[in-house]
């Protein structure tokens, strides 16, 4: 089952690599024109293309790239000739660092708020949480970011306004530098997870076995934590994993606002300069993240559900 999913995942990645290649080919211009820009002349563009072998037909270039890729060679950037593994390595670390920090704050917060909302359903507390989280998700993330910067950085001067962390920084200093982007991401993702937690717990609460528990005389708190929540886990896990994937692949705007050196900016820059091998590598990394996290979500959902655990 899991093995089959992994094979399917790999096939998906190959298909995606073809789509990325075609997509970049379809965009107007190539790396030579993008780098030389307004200063390009026909001769310099021709020399550029020749040196980078861009004059070969597309399928030859694709299989050339695929061959190297399957041997574990990501190649070099076309625009500055740096090894792609080097370009991606530390940026991937930064992206995961920020995603992890946001997840560590957001997931427990969302689960607790969701459970509390279910526990005190339809009270003013429930309504307040709903209104707050939904309004924070409705605002675009750059706006949330700017508001946080304006208040906490420019006005009160508590946190730095740009999070340009570097490898040389000690761990806690890095944490201090990423507090604002982390807070922005938390505000954006909490609503999803919290709403799903609340909804699926409320859904389970209508089941007969909850009625049974109530008749047994258990407290409401015990019913929700011990009986409703474990049975509501499966959809919650799915949402959490989707949000995790978003925290890794979808945060380019937050990266720009906070000048955070992550993978998103790398992908945007390489697409705008038509630097195909870099687009391929980062695109596949993002696609791989989705495939892998979806797989994990399914496995976890299975483990959390006794019915799925033993198919008989």
């Amino acid at each position: 089952m899991v093995a089959k999913r992994i094979v399917l995942g790999l096939v998906t990645l190959i298909v995606i690599s073809i789509l990325i290649f075609e997509g970049v080919e379809l965009l107007p211009g190539d790396v030579a024109q993008a780098i030389l820009g307004q200063r390009a002349t026909p001769e310099t563009i021709a020399a550029f293309r020749k040196e980078l072998k861009l004059d070969l037909p597309p399928h030859v270039r694709y299989f050339h790239w695929l061959g190297d890729f399957l041997q574990g060679d990501l190649g070099n950037s076309l625009s500055n000739k740096r090894p792609i593994s080097e370009l991606i390595g530390w940026r991937l670390y930064n992206t995961l660092f920020l995603a992890a920090a946001a997840a560590v704050v957001a997931i427990p917060l969302a689960l607790v708020l969701g459970m509390l909302a279910a526990l005190y359903r339809d009270s003013w507390f429930d309504r307040m949480i709903n209104v707050t989280t939904i309004s924070s998700i409705s605002l675009p993330e750059f706006f949330v970011g700017y508001v946080l910067i304006a208040v906490l950085s420019v006005k009160l001067n508590i946190f730095p306004s740009i999070s340009n962390i570097s490898d040389a920084m000690p761990f806690w200093r890095k944490i201090y530098y990423i507090i604002l982007p982390c807070l922005t991401l938390t505000l954006v993702v909490v609503a999803h997870m919290m709403r799903m937690t609340r909804a699926s717990i409320i859904n389970v609460l209508t089941s007969p076995f909850i009625e049974m528990a109530e008749l047994k005389g258990l407290t409401r708190r015990r019913i929700i934590i011990h009986h409703a929540f474990p049975n509501a886990l499966s959809p919650i896990i799915n949402v959490i994993v989707l949000d995790l994937a978003w925290l890794i692949v979808g945060v380019v705007i937050v990266e720009v606002v906070f000048v955070y050196p992550g993978l998103g900016q790398l992908l945007v820059d390489s697409v705008s300069k038509r630097d195909l091998p870099v687009v391929q590598a980062s695109g596949l990394l993002f696609a791989g993240t989705y495939v892998l996290l979806n797989l994990i979500a399914d496995v976890l959902a299975m483990l959390s559900n006794p019915k799925l655990r033993s198919p008989q």
């Binding site: 965009l27 107007p28 950085s153 306004s161 740009i162 000048v259 300069k273």
Partner: protein, 530 residues
């Protein structure tokens, strides 16, 4: 004229007093108003705040990408350019008055027809790797941009160089295809930075510059530290320079406000007046050579009719554009690319104004009153280009001329729209010398002759003025060329845009140059902490 220049130089370097300076000019026969004008535009460099040494200068640069490199043939944006000029030098450097001053070349001398230039190199200059600079390094660096397989974006700078050779260890001779009195200007272009002969890996940043490269991550930051052997007098004051990529303008401003950076380029016009009021921040606003153009291909109908071109030039309300698009941070253009601050600017040419009646008259004469002109535009040309096009369409409507604004994608604008469609928008950083600007943007054979301007008299004048060493005669010719481009050229040149920068009040500088962004890209070695 040359005598006056000499006195001005002496005055500015403090070698003669103000009184002595005025006396000398009077002896030369200059009138009092003329002397006052010269005094207003020159003066001894104020040394009230003597540059202090030390500190880490953090410069927030907008415009740059992870794809940047230090290859002198690439350097596509401000961020790599300014890192490149921290670690490397050129043969000449432009001062804030657009005049070439010695850099790696100590002096230079043209032949009588200006087709052969001899540059004497400074002695005892060391590269960061310990090698001593000699003529072979210069020849190698220049040849990097020349030749058939050159993919350098600076190739056009040296196409007129027929040969470059070393004459001994400290002399380099350039043989040009024709005379060029302004050749030392071209040698100041950042593409022509000098690196050791045989260099293949440009990312190490080995040069003769004020700063040595410590770390360099394109798209993120560069860190350099002071070169203890720097040879240039009175330059290189910071201990370290950190160049930080910050592409989002709000993020740059916030970083400056919160003290995370010390200076930034490319401020936003909309908010610049607010920035000027913030305590602790100095706002710098300079009119340089940067200008926006709206070229028509003047060999493609209906733009091949000069009446059509004149009519469209007259439908542009320049005052309105400077007020609304540039928010006042700029100057009106007169349909030629020479900036008011340049040597041979034709102040005698009347300013072209918005004149719907005259525009209608010319359009009627051309018989194109019912024609709808397609204006192709994208903000890839410059921020505000689309709004400019819409304003022009409105002012044209008042003259009874129909314009259809066609929005083009930003991606691929320079390769697929500009100079491909008959009427488009464009951007020029400008060039410090008149010859250079005209040669690159208006000469018949140039790849960037964006208005397809093919004017016999203009091209003759261009060649003649280039080889002429007498400034008075040159001025006459350049004035005529400005008139020709203004009245017959293919481009509408509505405005010159100011360079907007900001620094913390802790940063010291004087006479910021406007030939390029960030003090002619020399901020790191020219500025200091107070």
């Amino acid at each position: 004229m040359a005598k006056i220049d000499e006195y001005i130089q002496k005055f500015e370097s403090g070698r003669i007093s103000r009184r002595g300076f005025i006396k000398s000019l009077m002896v030369l026969g200059l009138s009092v108003p003329a002397i006052n004008m010269i005094l207003a535009s020159s003066g001894p460099v104020a040394h009230a705040a003597k540059p202090k040494k030390g500190g880490r200068f953090r410069l927030g640069v907008g415009q740059g990408a992870m794809t940047d490199s230090l290859d002198p043939g690439a350097l596509p944006s401000t961020a790599p350019q300014i890192v490149h000029l921290q670690v490397r030098n050129c043969l000449t450097e432009l001062n804030y008055k657009y005049n070439p001053i010695p850099e790696l070349a100590e002096s230079w001398e043209p032949s009588a027809d200006a087709s052969k230039w001899t540059f004497k190199l400074r002695k005892g200059v060391e590269f960061h790797n310990g090698k001593t600079l000699d003529a072979e390094d210069v020849v190698f660096s220049i040849n990097y941009h020349r030749g058939e397989d050159s993919k350098s974006s600076g190739k056009s700078l040296v196409t007129a160089v027929k040969d470059v050779k070393a004459d001994g260890k400290h002399t380099v001779v350039f043989i040009l295809e024709g005379g060029n009195a302004d050749f030392p200007f071209i040698m100041s272009d950042y593409h022509l930075g000098i690196f050791p002969a045989g260099t293949t890996d440009f990312e190490k940043g080995i040069g003769t510059g004020a700063f040595k490269l410590v770390s360099w991550e394109p798209g993120v930051r560069a860190l350099t530290k002071l070169n203890p052997n720097y040879w240039k007098q009175g330059r290189g004051h910071f201990d370290e320079v950190e160049t930080i990529y910050i592409n989002d303008v709000s993020a740059r401003i916030n970083a400056l406000k919160t003290g995370q950076i010390d200076a930034m380029n490319r401020c936003e016009r909309k908010t610049f007046h607010l920035l000027e009021k913030i305590p602790g921040i100095k706002a710098i606003n300079l009119t340089g050579t940067t200008h926006y153009t709206i070229p028509m291909l003047s060999d493609v109908p209906p733009y091949d009719n000069n009446d059509v071109r004149l009519a469209l030039k007259l439908t542009v309300d320049r005052e309105q554009l400077v007020k609304q698009i540039l928010r006042g941070y700029g100057a009106v253009g007169n349909d030629h690319p020479i900036a008011p601050s340049q040597r041979f600017y034709a102040s005698e040419l009347p300013q072209r104004k918005y004149d719907p009646d005259k525009a209608r008259y010319h359009m009627k004469k051309a018989g194109k009153l019912n024609h709808t002109f397609k204006l192709h535009v994208s903000d890839a040309a410059f921020a505000g280009a689309v709004d400019t096009a819409v304003l022009i369409k409105e002012s044209a409507t008042k003259a009874g001329i129909k314009i259809d604004v066609v929005r083009e994608p930003q991606d691929g604008y320079w390769s697929d729209v500009w100079m491909k469609k008959a009427w488009t928008f464009s951007f020029w950083g400008g060039r410090p010398s008149e010859d250079w600007m005209f040669a690159i943007g208006y000469a018949e054979e140039s790849n960037w002759n964006e208005g397809h301007f093919k004017h016999k008299r203009f091209n003759e004048l261009l060649k003649a003025a280039r080889a002429e060493l007498d400034n008075a005669k040159r001025r006459e010719m350049y004035v005529e060329m400005q008139r020709l481009v203004r009245d017959e050229g293919g481009s509408i040149i509505p405005m010159f845009a100011n360079l907007l920068m900001a620094t913390s009040t802790k940063v010291g500088f004087e006479n910021v140059a406007a030939n390029f962004d960030l003090d002619g890209l020399r901020t790191p070695e020219r500025w200091w902490f107070i």
